[in-house]
């Protein structure tokens, strides 16, 4: 990588009480790059995403955006950064149910001080880009899961962030609806040169990214085989296994 990375984590450590979730993870994300964060359930993917996005404060290590440390900044400063430079997209449940689709998308702009009319116009532009402009006046409860995700994507991108953080954004959708969300996500972020960090346990989703960053037990797994089965509890030991053991 020649250019200075846009976003970096260095030795990021995070525990929940006694439970270590990240044991010193370092990662670089370049401008406009798409990175898939993969690994078995519980390996720390969401925790890493939240630390990089400034939602969680790491116990140790550094997170830098454009070369500046962000992990120790005040909540107010980080929240400003999240509103202006970062966009987030989760699996589901991010839309305000009482607001229309268009109002949901306009919300981040209005929170940032943009006037109602201007915010609404921008919202419609984004809804159009994501193929859901016809739903502008509906409530979230009245549209499909895929349409809700496209609305959430419009909301994440309406502030024209430089980094989009997406945690299993298609995890609750069927294959085709998920694919439409991914196709839109890819197209608009590539158009805007937005970097994307996408958490997934689905290899078919990871294949959209140029690069895979695999985690295993809270550590980077450079072999890149992170996506795997959940393996907690006793493993059934087959015949093949018994033989290898005998050696």
């Amino acid at each position: 990588m020649t250019a200075e990375p846009l976003l970096t984590g260095r030795g990021v450590v995070k525990s929940y009480g006694q439970i270590p979730a990240l044991r010193g993870v370092s990662v670089d994300v370049a401008e406009g790059e798409i990175v898939a964060v993969t690994g078995p359930s519980g390996c720390g993917k969401s925790t890493l995403l939240h630390c990089l996005a400034g939602i969680l404060t790491p116990d140790a290590g550094e997170v830098s955006y454009r070369g500046e440390r962000i992990e120790r900044r005040s909540e107010a400063e980080r929240s400003l950064l999240r509103r202006s430079e970062f966009g987030v997209l989760f699996q589901f449940g991010q839309l305000v149910p009482e607001l229309t689709i268009a109002e949901n998308v306009a919300l981040p702009l209005m929170l940032g001080g943009t006037g109602r009319r201007q915010a609404h116009t921008a919202a419609l532009t984004w809804l159009d880009r994501l193929g859901v402009a016809h739903l502008a006046d509906d409530l979230p409860g009245a549209v499909s899961g895929g349409e809700q995700q496209r609305t959430a994507l419009a909301r994440a991108l309406v502030t024209e962030p430089r980094v989009l953080f997406a945690d299993e954004p298609t995890g609750a959708l069927d294959t085709l609806a998920g694919e439409q969300v991914l196709d839109h996500l890819l197209r608009v972020t590539q158009d805007q040169g937005t970097a994307v960090i996408i958490v997934t346990h689905d290899a078919r989703v990871a294949a959209y990214a140029a690069r895979e960053f695999a985690l295993r037990d809270g550590e980077h797994d450079p072999s890149g085989v992170g996506i795997g089965s959940v393996r907690r509890g006793r493993r059934a030991r087959g015949e093949v296994a018994t033989e290898a053991r005998a050696r």
């Binding site: 290899a203 890149g224 085989v225 089965s229 493993r235 087959g238 093949v240 033989e243 050696r247």
Partner: protein, 178 residues
């Protein structure tokens, strides 16, 4: 074709006669159709001709006299080469994958088996990325997308199996080495 390598793998594990080979194959790959004796002996003949196996002697334990075959050093080397080569990530390579993992665990060590699986995962992922790029290209026709989907979903099934296998193998490795 992986059958000759599978038989060679059995011979590398220990010397065996033809009947024993057939039995090992049938029990190891129960989903495959039973191997015909004709195929066992034809394969043994080719392995012998190519210097990969040799007739070591005969065995008459309570039955008819049977020729016992063993792998030659060249046969072992060839087997290692095969194990170290990833399969072309195309749909339906899965039986070749199973053959390799089975033989790797039989004649090689856990590290060799893990290395093979890890390399194969990387090859599969690289192919999935290529297919996804085809799929998302605006130039692709519907038929391209459908064909890419077919391959992607089969590779995905292979990948899930490979990763589960790797988990099982590395669990085992930890148990053995701690």
């Amino acid at each position: 074709m992986s059958t000759p390598y599978v038989l060679l793998g059995f011979l590398a594990e220990r010397p065996r006669h033809g009947y024993d080979l057939k039995h090992a194959y049938d029990s190891r790959f129960p989903k495959a159709k039973p191997m015909a004796f004709g195929q066992v002996y034809a394969t043994l003949g080719r392995l012998e001709r190519d210097g990969l196996a040799f007739a070591q002697g005969s065995d008459q334990a309570g039955g008819p006299e049977r020729t016992v075959y063993a792998a030659t050093p060249e046969g072992r080397a060839r087997l290692e080469e095969w194990l170290a080569t990833v399969e072309t990530p195309a749909p339906h390579v899965n039986s070749a994958l199973l053959a390799k993992v089975t033989v790797a665990l039989l004649v090689a060590d856990v590290e060799t088996a893990s290395t093979y699986v890890t390399d194969q995962v990387a090859a599969h992922m690289a192919r999935m990325r290529e297919l996804t790029a085809i799929k998302t290209s605006p130039q692709s026709a519907l038929s391209d997308v459908i064909a890419a989907d077919y391959a992607i979903n089969h590779l995905d099934a292979d990948l899930r199996w490979l990763r589960t296998t790797l988990d099982r193998v590395s669990d085992l490795h930890r148990e053995v080495h701690t």
